[in-house]
């Protein structure tokens, strides 16, 4: 009876990588639809980022972890969520069909740091290889 799998193991907390296998986050939570009469709930979106993680952890620590991300996002924008349509495969990581900078609102802190700090350091364009 294994035509269905554990969402805990298969999705939740999994590493997400983009089309180029660049890691940028984890599946911090999963949005399920509340079904209308007779239908079954479906996976609507994968949440990623400190905000979703903070909500899930709860408590003071959760609020503290989520706060910077919440502040970084401009008002009115929805918290970052990934359409399950974009998911290419789930094993061994959740791999997307898109590049991660094409995704709206995802990994904003990474972009911000890259622009404002790391790219300004000398030699930042090359890997030490």
């Amino acid at each position: 009876m294994s035509e269905h799998v554990s969402a805990r193991i298969a999705l939740l907390d999994k590493q997400i990588v983009d089309r180029d296998r660049l890691a940028f986050g984890r599946v911090d939570d999963v949005e399920l639809s509340i079904p209308t009469e007779g239908a079954l709930p479906r996976v609507e979106a994968l949440h990623t980022g400190a905000e979703a993680l903070g909500d899930r952890l709860g408590g003071v620590l959760g609020r503290w972890i989520g706060a910077p991300a919440r502040r970084l996002r401009s008002d009115g924008d929805a918290p970052p969520a990934i359409d399950p349509e974009l998911v290419d495969q789930v094993d061994p990581f959740v791999k997307l069909r898109a590049r991660f900078h094409e995704l709206e609102g995802v990994a904003g802190f990474e972009h911000w740091l890259a622009r404002n700090l790391v790219e300004r350091l000398p030699g930042a364009g090359h890997a030490a290889e």
């Binding site: 805990r8 999963v30 079954l40 996976v43 909500d55 899930r56 349509e85």
Partner: protein, 111 residues
């Protein structure tokens, strides 16, 4: 409804009796997207720990002391098919069937 909220929700059967707490959510691919196939229910701290270790999904086959303890704890777990859920909610899930009609977990996931 967030999956993390669904996990840990209380589940009651058609007669309103408590069946247990949601420990895991089983999903399957249908029509190109994931749908919820059913819920795994359990009760108690050890049961919660066993699920947290991945033992509830049959994903750790050892070492033996842990495996044996987990199998014993998980033996009381139940599986409810998504079709038998009448009300979905982040705090409370209601079933349309009696608790005696549910499948024991060990039939789903052999230890």
């Amino acid at each position: 409804m967030r999956l993390s909220e669904l996990l840990g929700s209380e589940v009651v059967d058609a007669a309103g009796r408590r069946v247990g707490l949601v420990r895991d959510c089983r999903i399957r691919v249908a029509d190109g997207s994931w749908e919820v196939a059913g819920l795994v229910l359990g009760e108690g701290m050890l049961d919660r720990a066993a699920h947290a270790c991945g033992l509830g999904a049959g994903r750790a086959s050892g070492p033996w002391p842990l495996r044996t303890i987990a199998a014993r704890v998980l033996a009381r777990g139940l599986f409810v098919s998504a079709e038998d859920v009448s009300v979905w909610g982040a705090a409370r899930v209601e079933l349309s069937v009696d608790r005696r009609a549910l499948t024991p977990l060990p039939e789903l996931v052999p230890a």
